[in-house]
Symmetry: C2
Subunit: 603 residues, 2 copies
């Protein structure tokens, strides 16, 4: 099997040619970067991942994280990866220089994240959560908290986690009950149970910093009474020595996939000696946490794309090497005297490969697009900044959901390309199939993301975010119509925007009539519908750049590379974008079938 | 979690009320059966599966079949299940009385198969393959072969397997190279490698009878030179004692799912002492094998439905017990003072449950329909018999594929209902998700089934099979239009038949122009399109029977049972049948994107 899991050429085409990151480098914040330095950085990252991450992806699956004698055991390579990532400045790379970071643009951090996750999705979470936890302290914590925790986290000595879920409160964070009792000393006593805490403990860090949601006694009910605390596994004293902080690791959830990555159960304050330090103001914890969650949603979307990328290249390689059967001749007759053909020559196998390619390249481009808006909202001002924020906000649930849902479909097609071998543990496809399944659940399920998209993001500021997004899509349609070859696709995407308007008018009609239940009942279908259109946009954008290169002859890659981009876009429009026909019909259908009726009719 | 994995009420509604098996019992072959005896038989089977199969489904997954010291180790419960199945006459139950069977109608065998596979899909294959292998000997073997092997197989003392695949020949059976050299003694020397042999060896049978495809020296190339042999692991002499037959078990493939079920690698004739006995005539082996394969295809479709059934009931139970979040109020505001609601009350969870229910009940009905035609072709004569055969032939690839493809989707939705717990090994959904994935590969992948449907079944006898099928669907539409409540769905299904005609005219146009490559390039899309319509038919059929019961008041079950049937049908028409819009558009699209071009454009 091939060891290829990501394409640096494709990635470069996206961050440089399609999303034009060079424009970002003109802003003061990113002025130290140019195309050359980013090329160097990403190529070095790829080399490192080739050597230190990818070779362990199957090994970690076969030797899963587990709980033994009160300890979480993970594969020893985790230690090395953390050290190398810290050494290379990957943890908190987007932080300002004076906060210990590299001021690396988000779009480049996301590119880096793609390479690392595609190489080995079971180890990157440790880094991402540590960066995210440090980011929360950096953004909202006091200087003292920053000084106490962040430098050790960026150095990879201490790890971070986000501790939200409790046994009775997963999707519904309103219901968390972990308590925080103030003390005269300024810290809080923390007591409660947290489950599904990814990367929450192992032997290869001397401390863990759990960014923990808890409720201060007497706080209002619901999400408005949630505060954010730094709760370390060991509390450091002023001299830097560590004392156990009564955070007990009570277990490790055994999972179908991402088996090398631990998922812990933490118990706080069993001996009434667990101390937490408030981050920012009381009762604003969920708002703060959303900064981390939004970043984490992009990262989870990237998990979907990255695993699908590794699966795609593995199945592509197989298809190029495995002979089986003969091409159907035009007469319909089979000539058994002929040599067997490589399976990549069978139309159905080509279809399965192109589907994977479209999902990977469309999804990756979408995640980079969202990250670009994250950069723009850092460097722009006034209305431009606000617009970038709105675009990031509306793209986030889509960029989380499309790759996690369609990543599953893509990988399933990859597995199918291998036939029976795809189901066998000697081949990597079955692992990718298991690993990717969690992405539609992590950080807000697809159902939650869909409610966020339709119920919150579409309606925010009277629909300004979606209008801005439509305008952006409109610009790409405009650019595509300049090319005879792409005009039909531009027209088709334009028609889809019209259908989107109609669907939204229909759905918003329910909201206006005060029927919010009905408005949101098919939010997941709307997500599927709209995300399919948004990814068509991302592919059309790529086709435009490819066509321009072919037309002008100014090519950075071989002509086939660009032709392949256009083929992928055409494929998506024929085989994927067409799905929106039926989805629109479902969304416009007047029947109400999933709202609770008088009777229990599901049996 | 619930232990419910199948609904006997639903099954009974299907075999009795919808598919009217009583009509079969009027034929001489089945005259010993009536509704009461079948009720008894199926209820007893359910009790047995409750006690002896279902409790082992997770245990077998956690203690997988494996190869140790030249032996295949499987869970000891396999021994008990084989003994009980034999005792109850389940192996070869459809055989004639004078051949050791119960002359049980296929539709009832299929019903039994549903219960057993839903209870534990890792153990039923041993029984099904033994029955299938015995069936081949019964149909095409000599009396001597029958006497030597079949009674021991039906008694569960010896097991059977079907040995087709070789390392270089999986989907392409033309290319098998296992050789058979005739001897003066009448048997053949067999030499070769067979892989992916399900149920091919374990400790709990004293012998294994491998129905093996091999090529007699000098036979024509391709499938026309393949013969079928009985190749036992141990050859019996005339006194019944067993001598090793040089069939070495070389390994057990480790798989993502169905881990309790062994998948062996067999090596024949390493010491030039492997003997095989020809079944029927030389060079007709593949034709014979297709009898077994067609039965196996129905069984694999049933694996998909059955696992989806177990997953559905598990996720339904969870949804009825798990509180999380609050119903969206019509104002769109959340009242956090309210108690959490059960997740079954969330519209998106209801959607995921109804989708599962529709796939299970539609898929199961389709498999019973196909089995009914299998019975009809046994008992009818002349054109009626031929029509039943044609209907069985055209339904087989659909009944194999829809449940295996949509079973995956259904189970994925079931897993999603459980959120994070769905991904954890403490809950059964993740196992079902892994187990079901093989069904789209076993016994001809979805791609192969799709070529069979469009390339062979649609065109056979100048389209007679599909015309007959359309007529049957037309009858159900006619019946549905008699009910005001169902008329809109009847009309919609009628429209889909018109679209099917258009699509087929378009595709057959390519075949007529001699462009078979293009004709078949999107066969898998046609399968998805048409199978979605065929399952709509099966659900509408059920709705008609339900509506008749509600209207007439002649009810065998509670009114909610019938209301739920109608709700499920309406759900399918709104959420699933709509998909055919986009699929038809894809099929009618003029672009050719997956045929091999001049250049390698997939990279």
């Amino acid at each position: 099997m091939s060891n290829k899991y990501a394409s640096i050429d494709n990635l470069r085409f996206l961050w440089k040619d399609v999303h034009q990151s060079e424009k970002l480098f003109k802003h003061e914040r990113y002025q130290d970067y140019d195309v050359e330095s980013i090329d160097l950085l990403l190529n070095a990252a790829k080399d490192l991942c080739d050597k230190e991450l990818h070779p362990y992806v199957q090994i970690m699956d076969e030797d899963p994280a587990r709980y033994e004698d009160g300890k979480i055991i993970v594969h020893p390579q985790v230690e090395k990866v953390i050290a190398l990532a810290a050494e290379n400045g990957w943890i908190g790379a987007e932080f300002e220089y004076d906060r210990g970071g590299m001021q690396l643009p988000h779009i480049i951090c996301t590119s880096l994240n793609y390479i690392a996750q595609a190489a080995n999705n079971q180890v990157t979470g440790y880094l991402a959560l540590t960066g995210g936890a440090a980011g929360l302290i950096n953004s909202f914590g006091s200087q003292e908290l920053f000084d106490t925790y962040v430098p050790n986290m960026l150095a990879g000595k201490w790890m971070g986690s986000m501790a939200l879920t409790e046994p009775q409160a997963g999707s519904s964070l309103s219901d968390i009950t972990t308590s925080a009792t103030p003390t005269a000393e300024g810290y809080y006593h923390i007591k409660g149970q947290k489950i599904f805490i990814s990367g929450g403990d192992h032997e290869y860090a001397e401390n863990f910093v759990h960014l923990t949601l808890a409720r201060i006694e007497g706080a209002p009910a619901g999400t408005k009474g949630i505060s954010l605390f730094v709760v370390p596994k060991h509390r450091p004293d002023s001299k830097g020595s560590l004392t156990p902080n009564d955070v007990i690791t009570a277990g490790d959830f055994q999972k179908m996939g991402q088996r090398g990555y631990c998922t812990t159960h933490l118990s706080y304050g069993e001996n009434d000696d667990c101390r937490g330090w408030l981050v920012g103001e009381p009762n604003r914890g969920l708002k703060y946490m959303f900064q981390m969650m939004n970043g984490a949603r992009i990262e989870v979307g990237m998990t979907g794309v990255s695993i699908a990328s590794a699966a795609y290249y593995a199945s592509l390689q197989y298809a190029k090497e495995r002979p089986q059967g003969r091409a159907i001749s035009n007469s319909g007759k089979k000539n058994v005297q002929q040599e067997q053909t490589l399976i990549i020559n069978h139309p159905d196998v080509r279809r399965m490969l192109l589907l994977q390619k479209a999902v990977v390249e469309g999804g990756l481009s979408l995640l980079l697009e969202a990250s670009k808006y994250n950069d723009l909202q850092e460097v722009l001002t006034g209305e431009e900044k606000e617009n970038a924020q709105l675009l990031l906000e509306i793209l986030t649930p889509i960029a989380k959901t499309y790759p996690s849902e369609m990543g599953q479909v893509a990988i399933s097609n990859g597995l199918q390309v291998l036939g029976g071998y795809g189901f066998c543990t000697d081949f990597p496809l079955q692992q990718y199939y298991r690993d990717v399944r969690i992405t539609a659940i992590y950080e807000g399920t697809t159902g939650i993301q869909s409610l966020d998209l339709l119920g919150r993001k579409v309606t925010m500021q009277n629909g300004k975010a979606i209008r801005l997004l439509m305008q952006e899509i409109g610009k790409s349609i405009q650019a595509a119509t300049q090319h005879k070859t792409l005009e039909p696709y531009a027209l088709r995407l334009g028609e889809k925007l019209v259908v989107t308007q109609k669907v939204l008018e229909h759905l918003l009609g329910f909201a206006m009539k005060g029927n919010h239940q009905r408005f949101l009942a098919d939010a997941s279908i709307f997500m599927e519908f709209f995300s399919t259109i948004v990814v068509a946009w991302q592919l059309l954008k790529q086709a435009v750049v490819a066509q321009e290169a072919l037309t002008s002859g100014k090519m950075n890659y071989a002509p086939d590379f660009y032709e392949s981009k256009i083929l992928t876009t055409r494929f998506y429009f024929k085989y994927e974008l067409t799905k929106t026909e039926g989805l629109a019909q479902t969304l416009m259908d007047e029947e109400q079938l999933t709202l609770v009726g008088d009777k229990e009719l599901i049996m």
